[in-house]
Symmetry: C2
Subunit: 397 residues, 2 copies
């Protein structure tokens, strides 16, 4: 029988765009209006006036904390702010040039091995406690890796600092000033959740198999590392380095677009207007550039944004806008985050959202229990009927 | 403004059942007829007459190998059959009671750190070579972990053995007889692919972000660890241990079903008839039980299958069938696989399929490049319009 395909259909639902896969109460993204809402609250005032700890409480508990609740979650996160010594021993065996996202994806299951409660995870409260441990410790994996790979001592957490300040403290070994700490806090809040983005959907999918919390987060980290997702902010900076000077911007943009390439950090699969997170990070980058004398970098980036927008208008008759990655790359760089840690910084913000999604997927609300995500593929391969194509031993081929 | 939901809709597409998300040429599952086809070929003759190496070739290359091609892939897999020493050093730092699936999920990104070609991955051939390294090395992580956790020397691979035989050799430290090696080979073939199951879909989803090969496989391992997926074979055996004797079977099954519990290993989300893989593993388990004097275990399992089938007929008027996990638990146990390695054994078979899906998702065929899987959620949470609910400082709440 001749081998042939049993289907000539082209698949619909490519990339699942527009396909609703679940109800969620966690965040709402309005791509037309450029609005991002966490549990009902616009992200912009939260980013300016609240704190990452408050946003963690909001995302996990679905309500703003009262004073004693905020005090409690601050204390719980601070208490969990340590890495078991054997975890650091494991990190010391890793090659110094390891990609930081590989380190994170590897170390999260290692954290599971040192969490005796992982196999006693039965109630929402059990999982909530694991969430707090993960949120507290993921930044410490990032900062410990910076120390270990540079043959420096891992810095013990300071429990009196905020979550964001302690991250910078353990990363650099010196306490940040309050302005820098607040910038980091804002970055974490702005990255904390964003609907069913690729890494969040990965986390929910792993969760739906009833795998444990750490397995879901490690999976999400794999997705976040991709160039089309969290890996983009790193690539924005690399692009700016490559362009090198404001004089080269127009040629770079025009050539890239002529060759059907992408300008990193420009455009977004959901936002058709300005990414609301860029509305905070853009001015923040401008202010920092002034303060730190890095206006050359900022102005080159602004030129990339301007020229790309003009070229898009000219070529496609529509606008294109800078996204969160475009400006977070600038801000991260200006507050001294190593370039290859931009995506890990995204991760230590997004872990709040992933955790909320784990809780929602695992415990549901109206739904009693999670349903395994198991889509279909249209078989488009060799086909000789259900009895199969004829197999013959290798020496008869 | 009062907080309220903006939607009363119930979500469709729960678990994505029946939703076609991609074309695929890799495998076809016919759940009505009980047929599983790899690249056009029925899995049953492949499982009996071919070899895992041949199936790897078939899945990755979309054709049966000619003699020289089979010889080449055997040689390539054997050449890659080693773990860098620092990988073993890392494993030695892990707690001895770590869950083996956590070890696998952690160690795959560690393998990436020791694969200098991972960031030079540009062509299909580059990725194909990484696939062969992953397929060759994942079993060695499993067997090395058995040695390390028991404070025994890691066994060096024997390149003259088959892939399956070498796994058992490095696991136990002694060469398996040819019958046992063939059983392991068959188990690996039967687990090598199965459409868009949860772990494969996870792998494809991570791949769609342009994350690297190891990140996708680590993500898939997280999904496979779940009780609703690869973790089921382990739970079948635990259930049999709990039942303890054939005399307790009826009470156990009746009580479990009365309490709306599940009988592990019975039923399948896709197969409405006998899982074709069980048609090979069932008789294999019976034969092994006879040979090894473990008929008590086998007969207890058979009784579970029989009573569950009867009870389902009585209660729901329909049949229920043993799935692959039901019998693979028995066979794995009889060939000396530690119980907590049943799911890792599933993984070292399925890595062949995951790798084929990585190649298909990444390089496509008709599609030029992968599209990020980014579905939608229906927002069903607190909502006060796009301006957001009113936020007030914590001390004003």
């Amino acid at each position: 029988m001749t081998a042939q395909s049993d289907s000539q259909q082209t698949t619909k639902n490519i990339g699942l765009r527009g396909i609703v896969v679940a109800d969620s109460k966690i965040s709402k993204v309005d791509g037309e209006k450029g609005v991002l809402i966490y549990r009902g609250y616009d992200v912009l005032p939260l980013a300016i006036d609240s704190s990452f700890e408050e946003v963690v409480y909001l995302l996990l508990n679905d309500s703003l904390p009262k004073p004693e609740q905020l005090a409690q979650i601050r204390q719980e996160l601070a208490e969990y702010r340590n890495l078991p010594d054997p975890v650091i021993d494991t990190m010391k065996t890793l090659p110094k040039d390891a990609a930081p996202m590989d380190v994170l994806q590897a170390m999260v299951p290692v954290l599971a091995m040192h969490d005796p409660e992982i196999f006693e995870e039965k109630t929402w409260q059990d999982s909530y406690n694991i969430a707090l441990r993960l949120i507290a410790r993921l930044p410490l994996i990032v900062s410990a890796w910076q120390r270990v790979r540079n043959d420096r001592e891992v810095v013990e957490s300071n429990k009196d600092l905020s979550h964001a300040a302690n991250f910078l403290y353990t990363l650099h070994g010196t306490e940040p000033d309050s302005e820098t700490a607040k910038i980091m806090d804002t970055i974490l809040i702005l990255h904390a959740d964003h609907g069913f983005n690729a890494s969040t959907f990965t986390a929910r999918q792993v969760t739906s198999t009833l795998a444990h919390f750490y397995a879901a987060i490690s999976g999400a980290l794999g997705s976040l590392s991709g160039a089309l997702h969290g890996g983009a902010n790193y690539r924005v900076y690399k692009m700016l380095e490559q362009i090198g000077s404001i004089d080269n911007v127009r040629d770079y943009v025009v050539n890239t677009l002529d060759n059907k390439g992408k300008i990193m950090g420009m455009g977004h699969p959901v936002y058709k207007v300005t990414d609301p997170r860029a509305n905070i990070l853009g001015p923040m980058a401008a202010k920092l550039a002034d303060k730190l004398g890095r206006t050359e970098l900022y102005e080159m980036a602004e030129e990339v944004r301007k020229v790309t927008t003009e070229e898009f208008k000219k070529r496609k008759g529509r606008g294109i806008y800078a996204n969160v990655d475009f400006f977070s790359a600038l801000v991260n760089s200006m507050i001294g985050i190593p370039i290859d840690f931009f995506t890990p910084v995204f991760a230590i913000g997004r872990i709040a959202g992933w955790s909320a999604h784990y809780l929602e997927e695992h415990y549901g609300s109206e739904q009693a229990k999670p349903t395994l995500y198991r889509p279909k593929a249209e078989y488009a391969g060799r086909y000789c009927g259900l009895e199969g194509c004829e197999w013959s031993p290798v020496d008869k081929r």
